[in-house]
């Protein structure tokens, strides 16, 4: 099975082209099912690989590659052929990621059958979805960082296409551009890191690069720079501070796409990249600290920002950013397995929450939670599954989120109690805003009777994926935690010496910590219940009144959007200034002035030509024709033969004398 690993990204890729070019856009077009079939096949291969790896039948890592292209190069005066190879590298983390991406993608595609039903661009939507998944899978399996980078960019392109899918509206194209350009800012760092890697490591192959780092061929400063560059790329893709501004706007895409972006594809890419290149980070304490602090700041800021919005998808978006911060922080403090574990469980419950939110939006046709309320009566399945997802996100045992968050907190505490305190606080905030969302949406009285009356439970294609994801959200935590199965599968992180970076400076009893954090989470849920599970929102609004300044700051997202907008504005002004200098100074003085100078010189030259050269030419003609010629004519052409003979005689005599 493992030898078919290269098919995993290629099948959805082929499907996307088949869907896009295979036939016209029709209501009953069968082509979208090709996408579902392709991703289903990929999922089957991935699961086989995962179970083989799990049971130990398959030794990991597995690597297979093929020659991509080659070129002549020269090293220290010695010419050689550089063979660029591309292929697959399956590690424990890769196997898990493949299964997660394929599974979530499959469920999203099935769900979209219901959600996007009747959309005018149904077929194109499926082509984009398949392409998105294919790019992400390529990124995950590739053993060549150059291919990874190419897929990374393709992920960006497909997210652009999907966020701006309803491009006939106003907001989506804007959001798509914002996402694309913001992530590009980070990709610049990734690209520079790649150049540095090739300059110092001489290879893009991950395994060979790991060997090179292990042998100490790369100086630590270079490794730090590479690590920071990769982190910049991850910041953009995984929406880390300060480049997280694009993710809340990415909500403008269809909701299943948001689920895909937030759970499996787009944002997981950054975390995965850091995990894949963990050996680089592990070799540089500075890079590790940068990762940890980036994650910490992101987790906290996004966690607070999620407290205030009334847009259901926006709450979830900030929550994703916050959880990605948790993963980053875990990776940064040496919790390789913990970070990836949270990535896995988060994929399940975040996809569940998004698909559930999509189900709600599909029913009530609005994102605004103030117009929802009491929907649990109308949509029991959605309510139940979303509650499960919310409990998992809030970290309530024994759901998935509890185990992974617990591992992260444990790892972080070993490193620094301060970071632990911030993350624990963020975990409480998570519980609060998650249940704020649940209560606002499903409990209390209906606030918009018109919408409430029309709300209906979604059909089977939409609820079945919800139920599957809910089951996974319940089970995946303890199943993977059981006997440290997950940690055994992914290892403790390549390149990380056991106990080197994870040198536990502080210890805490896991039971005490878990009890404390869970108790705090329950308190937060209780607070959310008090404030939001009421017929009207008077208590919450009173709080908002009292704390208007912090609310304002949070609603402005700490001014980061304004900051980046100002940055763009400043760049725009700078460009305007440059244009002005170009048009008014360079063009006017240098270009036009030079032209004028040339024209003056040309006029002078023309004058000189007319006055002197032409006159000289005419003069030559005049002299030879009218002066010399006329006189010679009189002199020679009188028809007197004897004169001619005389000239001849005199001439010959002269020649003979002068000889």
């Amino acid at each position: 099975m493992i030898e078919h690993a290269f098919l995993i990204p290629l099948l959805p890729l082929a499907a996307s082209f088949l869907i896009l070019f295979g036939g016209p856009e029709r209501k009953d077009s069968p082509l979208p099912y090709a996408g579902i079939a392709a991703i289903g096949l990929s999922l089957w291969i991935s699961l086989r690989i995962l179970f083989d790896a799990w049971s130990g039948a398959l030794p990991l890592p597995y690597e297979a590659d093929w020659s991509w292209f080659s070129f002549a190069a020269e090293l220290r005066g010695r010419p050689f052929i550089f063979d660029m190879r591309a292929g697959v590298l399956i590690e424990g983390a890769t196997a898990v990621m493949l299964a997660v991406v394929c599974l979530v993608s499959l469920l999203v595609q099935v769900y979209s059958l219901g959600y996007m039903h009747g959309d005018a661009k149904f077929k194109r939507y499926y082509a984009y979805l398949s392409f998105f998944t294919a790019s992400m899978l390529g990124l995950v399996v590739s053993n060549n960082l150059l291919v990874t980078f190419a897929c990374w960019e393709l992920v960006g392109v497909s997210s652009y296409l999907l966020i701006g899918f309803w491009f006939e509206k106003t907001a989506p194209p804007y959001a798509a551009k914002k996402a694309f350009i913001t992530t590009k800012l980070g990709d610049l760092g990734f690209f520079l890191a790649l150049l540095t890697i090739f300059a110092y490591g001489g290879t893009f192959n991950i395994v060979r690069l790991r060997d090179a780092v292990a042998m100490g061929y790369l100086p630590e400063l270079v490794l730090t720079l590479i690590g920071l560059g990769l982190l910049a790329g991850a910041m953009g893709k995984s929406a880390q501070w300060p480049l997280f501004i694009w993710l809340p706007d990415a909500m403008e895409g269809p909701t299943p796409v948001s689920a895909l972006i937030h759970a499996a594809t787009m944002v997981a890419a950054g975390i995965y990249l850091v995990a894949r290149c963990y050996f680089i980070f592990a070799a540089s304490q500075v890079a590790m600290d940068a990762v940890a602090w980036t994650g910490l700041i992101t987790a906290f800021l996004a966690g607070t920002m999620a407290l205030v919005p009334y847009d259901i998808k926006r709450v979830l978006a900030f929550s994703t950013v916050s959880q990605l911060g948790f993963m980053m922080c875990a990776l940064g403090v040496g919790g390789y397995a913990a970070g990836l574990f949270h990535l896995t469980t988060h994929a399940f419950f975040k996809a569940l929450l998004f698909l559930g939110a999509g189900s709600v939006i599909h029913a009530v046709h609005t994102n605004d939670m103030r117009q929802m309320g009491g929907l649990s009566k109308r949509m029991p399945v959605t309510f139940m599954t979303m509650t499960v997802g919310s409990l998992a996100l809030a970290g309530i045992p024994p759901l998935a989120g509890f185990f992974s968050k617990d591992q992260i907190l444990e790892k972080v505490f070993e490193r620094s109690p301060f970071m632990f305190a911030v993350l624990a606080l963020t975990a409480c905030l998570t519980a609060f805003y998650t249940f704020r969302m649940v209560f606002l949406t499903f409990r209390g009285e209906e606030r918009d009777t018109e919408r409430f009356r029309h709300a209906e439970e979604s059909g089977g294609v939409m609820t079945v994926p919800l139920v599957i994801l809910a089951v996974l959200s319940v089970c995946s935590g303890w199943a993977l935690e059981h006997a440290h199965a997950f940690a055994r599968l992914v290892g403790s992180g390549p390149g990380l010496l056991p106990g080197a970076a994870g040198e536990a400076a502080h210890h805490i009893d896991p039971m005490v910590m878990a009890t404390g954090v869970t108790g705090a989470a329950f308190l937060a849920i209780g607070l959310a219940y008090r404030l939001y599970c009421t017929p009207d929102l008077s208590a919450a609004l009173a709080w908002k009144e009292r704390l208007s300044l912090p609310f304002k700051v949070l609603e402005d997202r700490y001014g980061f959007d304004a900051f980046f907008l100002g940055l763009v504005d400043a760049a725009d002004r700078l460009a305007g200034l440059c244009r002005w200098v170009d048009a008014e100074v360079v063009d006017r003085i240098f270009v036009d002035g030079w032209g004028l100078l040339c024209r003056i010189a040309a006029e002078l030259s023309n004058l000189f030509d007319a006055l002197f050269v032409d006159q000289a030419v005419d003069g030559c003609g005049y002299i030879s024709r009218d002066v010399v010629g006329a006189n010679l004519r009189w002199f020679s052409l009188r028809g007197r033969v004897q004169e001619y003979l005389l000239y001849l005689a005199v001439g010959v005599s002269l020649f003979s004398i002068l000889r």
């Binding site: 009188r638 028809g639 007197r640 033969v641 004897q642 003979l645 005389l646 005689a649």
Partner: protein, 101 residues
């Protein structure tokens, strides 16, 4: 009698011929002067043959050729003169200027 004497005689005869050809108005006189120049050349040929290559007769043979050609030329020339006289009623060279450009 050395070669120089003969050459001197040839030159004198040639100059007389030239002088005649340049000064005579009558075309027949010009023709006679041209004959003198031919003969100056003949004297040179015979003299060179006699003094420089006495064994052969090349120079004398060429001289004989020239005499023959000169005789033919005179025939043609006199015929032309006769025809011009009939057409224009004159044999003075300055009057015969129809080739004037």
């Amino acid at each position: 009698m050395t070669l120089a004497h003969y050459l001197f005689l040839g030159s004198a005869l040639f100059i007389v011929g030239i002088f005649g050809a340049l000064t005579r108005r009558n075309v027949i006189g010009i023709l006679m002067s041209v004959e003198l120049m031919f003969n100056a050349a003949n004297i040179n040929l015979a003299a060179f043959n006699r003094f420089l290559a006495p064994a052969g007769v090349t120079g004398q043979a060429v001289a004989l050729f020239i005499m023959t050609v000169a005789a033919a030329e005179v025939v043609v020339g006199l015929a032309l003169v006769l025809m011009i006289y009939r057409a224009r009623d004159t044999v003075y060279a300055e009057d015969i200027n129809i080739l004037r450009g």
